[in-house]
């Protein structure tokens, strides 16, 4: 690494540190939840290290607990993570065009809602060293928080562990309610999705549809209707 690269890496790392700190409590809660649901500590940490995402890995872990099929788990996680394509596309316009394929394959692993937001606010073209610096602390923070949560959960008494069944849903509610407060389309899409999901769940003729696919069908219909009724400039 030459001097300029070192400087860029350091700068990126500094920009990533607040993200890493913000990740600690969330990944801590994920670690608690995963071990509470029955996963071994090492697997909980491996999920965070290899997935590095919130909604996608929460949903996937939830489906693992439900004993869903591998295809359903993969498809549901994929649909949730499709939004990264938008961020990746947007960053492709922003990075130094001379960055080679191999480096792009490496740093794109660290694209998250937060690293994307920080990277897109920077002035000028983004270098490879900057991107590597930016993603390192968040990756470490996300895994470390999970490890702490997972280890502490194993030490909690049973009565508290069973109350933690609601933790994951509490997090989901915490993610969806604030944007719903600000946007009517989001409220409509949420309600549509919930209604469709309940229909598929409770009407006997739909009982052949498995849990993961119910979620996928509800998602595609409600987000599709939402995009038709409320197109937005993103």
């Amino acid at each position: 690494m030459n001097f300029e690269n070192k400087k860029q890496f350091k700068y990126g790392f500094k920009r990533g540190l607040p993200i890493a700190i913000g990740y600690l409590p969330v990944s801590f809660t994920f670690g608690l939840m995963a071990v509470n649901g029955g996963l071994p500590v090492w697997l909980a940490i491996f999920i965070s290290f290899s997935n590095l995402t919130s909604a996608g890995q929460f949903a996937g872990t939830n489906l693992i607990f439900a004993g869903a099929g591998l295809f359903e788990i993969g498809l549901t996680t994929f649909i949730i993570n499709i939004r990264y394509m938008l961020m990746s596309l947007s960053l492709s316009q922003k990075i130094d065009p001379n960055i080679g394929l191999r480096n792009r394959l490496i740093f794109s692993f660290g694209i998250t809602d937060e690293t994307f937001s920080v990277a897109s606010m920077e002035q000028g073209r983004l270098s490879n060293a900057y991107m590597l610096g930016l993603i390192s602390a968040p990756i470490a923070g996300w895994s470390l928080g999970t490890a702490l949560g997972a280890l502490i959960c194993s030490a909690l008494p049973q009565s508290i562990q069973s109350a933690m069944g609601i933790a994951l849903y509490g997090m989901f509610i915490a993610i969806i309610v604030p944007p719903a407060r600000k946007s009517k389309p989001v409220v409509i899409i949420l309600l549509l999705s919930i209604v469709i999901h309940c229909f598929l769940r409770y009407i006997p003729i739909f009982s052949f549809i498995s849990s993961g696919f119910r979620v996928i069908i509800a998602t595609v219909f409600s987000a599709g209707i939402g995009a038709f009724l409320y197109p937005i400039e993103v």
């Binding site: 609601i166 919930i194 979620v215």
Partner: protein, 102 residues
Amino acid sequence: MTIERALLAVIIMALVTYIPRALPITLFRREIKSVRIKSFLNYVPYAVLGALTFPDVFESTGNVITALCGAIVAFLLAYFNRSLVIVAVGAILTVFVTGLLF
């Protein structure tokens, strides 16, 4: 689910999370123009989380009443913009306390 199968599921999850991140930045150079597609992608996370949460949250504690109380507290905390962790901990504590009563 066995640990081997869970591990396989996690590896699949990791792949389908990595692919959307890596593909556009390595392959495409132009941006998505369609407002409908952009809007759809923007709404997907909300739709997924809504369907994942309801009605399943009410079955998450093995007792509908404690789960309902937990969900209401989570909603109120989230409505007043408390952080993810506060909302989750608030819901857990509510379930724990109401579990002692009901």
